[in-house]
């Protein structure tokens, strides 16, 4: 294995080990020794890649942000197929993010770092998620997908607050990120967003039509 390649792999391993340690112990308590030991590298090797715990947290956030952008389809600048529903895209992406949060400590730690007051949040994932939800619902509104009574801003508030709630409550009880929970939420909300005569075309449980 070429030297640079090995270095890149060690870096990835350290990011994942840091995410797992932040996830388990919290950012403030997590120790660099626990992280390097989980990664199976020396403290010296850790410091070669990351001079501080803050630098590691920053790398975890960047890595989590890349995953989030892939899940929302922003990464490849994906365009929705003509006629595809932005609201269904939103439903599908919340399911995809819940699934990813269940299985991926890097994404989980990236979101949790958004709530750490003890450090600035340059790549604040919750804020980034809010922006994407806002953009998606504004477009749905512009394109006439929403019921006239549904104010896009109210929907943004409810969707962002509930999804962040799922993420936080799942720390103690994983069922909050289950497909069933996310489906229940959309089953309740979809009739307020979508005109009744078009509701049958929507899947609260998500579809696999999501781009990316």
């Amino acid at each position: 294995m070429v030297k640079q390649e090995r270095a890149a792999r060690t870096r990835e391993t350290l990011i994942r080990s840091a995410a797992e340690t932040f996830d388990r112990d919290g950012f403030s308590v997590a120790s660099l020794t626990a992280i390097s030991s989980l990664a199976g590298v020396s403290n010296g090797a850790l410091h070669f890649h990351f001079p501080s715990k803050a630098a590691l947290a920053h790398a975890v956030e960047e890595s989590a942000l890349t995953r989030l952008l892939a899940l929302t389809g922003e990464a490849e600048g994906d365009e929705l197929p003509a006629g595809a529903s932005r609201v269904q895209l939103l439903v599908d992406v919340t399911h995809a993010i819940a699934g990813a949060l269940r299985g991926d400590p890097v994404l989980r730690a990236g979101f949790a770092l958004s709530g750490e007051l003890s450090r600035p949040g340059p790549g604040d994932l919750r804020e980034r998620w809010r922006h994407w939800v806002e953009d998606t619902l504004r477009l749905a509104e512009l394109e006439g997908e929403l019921r006239p009574e549904a104010a896009a801003g109210d929907v943004v508030t409810a969707v962002v607050a509930a999804t962040v709630g799922f993420e936080v409550l799942a720390v103690r009880d994983e069922a909050w990120l289950s497909a069933a929970t996310v489906t229940r939420f959309w089953r309740l909300l979809l009739p307020t967003l979508i005109p009744a005569d078009r509701l049958a075309g929507f899947e609260a449980a998500g579809t696999d039509r999501r781009p990316g």
Copy 2:
């Protein structure tokens, strides 16, 4: 001032100082020295009342729980007046809790301690809140207040997740706990819960009819 009275006041001051310090620094980082110094007492006096940081956190949670029970009306075993709406009670209580979270570091710290994985959560406030929302909505369903299409369980999921989301997001941006945010949420949700012909009797912005 009688000796016991002075001791009780010092205890209260310490609980409030601990809550403010947990709120600012997080439970894991908060130091006992910062807490005693904020309370204006010696380290020895702090240790006389609370042998450990965990004991202090427990006292903060107990104190926060008392406030939560007062806000939900469970404290005095309040009965709703005949004919009063359980759903309006739920709306009013979420407004009252959001207002209390804005101004009361003890309640804020009590809720935040629910998310601290590094310690067991004996008086888990978020879990307690979930129970109250569940009981209230089951009663609303039994009493025929909800639309037949609205499954009480779906509503519980959405309300608990969104309110916990408000609480967590407000750590970085207080607007998430503003009356306007809570009103927006209910403006969106009420039409899914309440039959259209009775909707005019409900106030998304809350009423002062809450008991207790």
